[in-house]
Symmetry: C2
Subunit: 366 residues, 2 copies
């Protein structure tokens, strides 16, 4: 079976961090006999500059064919004034929607060597390991009607939150499956006290649980209380499942809590393709960070760990994924630090490439 990858470095620090991932992909080919057929293409502002759209149709078609898409980051001030329909983000949203990547996996993990970076007390975050499963293809991100309309002599901005039973069902299953491989606990978050879409959400998650996953511990929480509890005592959670918009906010809050923002990967998974592998896109949680782009300051770890998630979820190479994750942990434990991580005493400052070198050396030694 061939392993096909589409690499979309995107904007800002995207290309720099992706360059390190490319070296790591090559390492797995040369040293572990795990070869990837890699294509590279444009997304976001980089695609707009060339094609006038943030994702060309040919790129979209290619993304549908490969085993996994690896994306760097999109966006930047250069594109702020663009029309909504061609903004860099629309390229990413089109990939998510057309590949039907309904389950967005966002681990919020606190790396021990970095626990002191958190604004939270060490005991609150050390050892933290949450998996947020965010619905990614529906809800208010894509619901119709949407737009800015004229009404009674003034404009009104409208978006529609919409969830069907089957959309909730499939993401709930994804969350329960993951929980079984972890702490066996799922907390579902919505605003069923004020939104009917939340009532349906709660009901369907409960039904999926009762019918197929009764062995998993399930709780429900209002999303505002969920945000509070994440800040108060995040270790109470194992898997959190929530909708697209709440997931956007809550996963960012959870990511920031860990103090490891520059370290956090994500996977967006869809239905299985003909070869049994799921449609999949992997990307770091951090953004394009235009302020530090091109200066060798970016931390490539989140993007590297996104590739580790690809090894695990797309290529069924859990052991190799763990090998790569251990290599990154080792490098951190050794005090190797890109600029975003530079605070501790005795740290060894490195550039983006220096971090790549260190990870490769740790892989060699693995």
């Amino acid at each position: 079976m061939t392993n096909t990858l589409l690499i979309l470095p995107g904007d800002g620090i995207g290309p720099e961090v992706m360059a390190e991932v490319t070296r790591i992909i090559d390492w797995f080919g040369a040293r572990r006999g795990l070869r990837f057929d890699v294509t590279e293409d444009l997304v976001g502002g980089a695609a707009y500059d060339v094609h006038g759209v943030p994702l060309a149709d040919a790129t979209m078609a290619k993304a549908q064919e490969v085993d996994a898409v690896l994306l760097g980051a999109v966006g930047g001030p250069k594109y702020d004034a663009l029309d909504f329909s061609v903004k860099p983000e629309r390229g990413l949203l089109r990939l998510r929607k057309e590949m039907d990547l309904f389950a967005n996996l966002r681990p919020a993990q606190c790396f021990d060597a970095l626990a002191d970076f958190s604004s939270l007390k060490r005991e609150v975050v050390a050892g933290l390991d949450i998996m947020i499963v965010r619905e990614l293809t529906s809800g208010v991100y894509f619901g119709e009607p949407r737009g800015i309309f004229e009404e009674n002599g003034e404009r009104v901005g409208i978006n529609t939150q919409r969830y069907t039973e089957s959309e909730i069902d499939r993401v709930a299953r994804a969350a329960f499956e993951l929980a079984r491989k972890r702490g066996n606990k799922v907390c579902s978050m919505e605003k069923a006290n004020v939104m009917e879409s939340g009532i349906l959400w709660r009901e369907v998650v409960q039904k999926v649980h009762d019918e197929s996953y009764a062995d998993v511990e399930l709780s429900h929480m209002y999303a505002d209380a969920g945000g509070m509890q994440l800040c108060r005592w995040p270790k109470q959670f194992d898997v959190i499942v929530t909708d697209n918009l709440f997931g956007d906010l809550l996963s960012d809050v959870a990511a920031m809590l860990t103090g490891s923002l520059g370290m956090l990967p994500s996977a967006s998974l869809g239905a299985p393709m003909a070869n049994g592998r799921p449609k999949a896109l992997y990307e770091p949680v951090h953004g394009s960070a235009p302020d530090i782009a091109g200066q060798g300051k970016a931390n490539p770890c989140a993007c590297v760990l996104s590739f580790a998630m690809a090894l695990r979820y797309s290529f069924d190479q859990g052991d190799e994924a763990t090998r790569l994750e251990r290599a990154v942990e080792k490098v951190l434990a050794d005090g190797v630090r890109t600029a975003d991580l530079m605070q501790a005493e005795g740290a060894k400052p490195v550039t983006t490439t220096g971090m790549g070198d260190a990870i490769l050396a740790a892989l060699d030694a693995s």
Copy 2:
């Protein structure tokens, strides 16, 4: 001019904490010549038990007439199985909507004596003083169409996010006015990168700023980044203005950060009435806490401080509001603690009533 108050203790710990506020209201009458004409009535589950609805029409009418409504809390497990339309929360939402209380002021303030309660590091939260202005009468909380419908053989849950220019305009003005009396800085939060309602929000806030409040520093942030920044370094903010749903989440996150959750009040303000005073409702940020209700464990401070906000915003008694706030701070500094605050060494444990006694004694000494 008479001062009229409608007191709605509600459910759970609501009645207990409100009992302490009532004593403080009486103190202002007896000792400061500031008399209030007080009526008491039912809301939430308490109203449902008697009237079969969480807010009787007569109570609604009364709320429209008084200078200020003071609410304890609504909700409890006893009412969980009720139909959406008569849940305790609907009583509160009806008050907000029919009184047109569009500006919800949620101070997120860290009391120095309590800074160590925060899950965040002391230096991150000590001295924190943010004002979140949440739009409270529109957005996805009230937008139509809404409900659970049958479509293509399955159910779909729908809610509608809607904001008109004038709705955004008036809450933006409220935020800028407040900023002028504080740090002169407003940060507006939305998801203009994915929602058209967010694009309109950003545009109108900017326009109000440029036309009428150019002296106030204005910035815009995506709501997910806003959640992150609140956790990372909350002191960067002065006033935050945001919509109903984002405000629900972000203000709860901000409240939890302070470590002072049992201490935080809120004010919900509408347009001026004939006597020049704004339509107004004041309530603590905490909920009805059914698990500790009736045990004398509840902390009345948030409700007491909500009355202080009423003194300031409804009755133009800023000095008396400050007097009451200072009394609460004094009591905290003296180590007086209800059960929710019991952790520090040398603390003096008190019941709900004991906290009321201590605040009254501090007022006597003021």
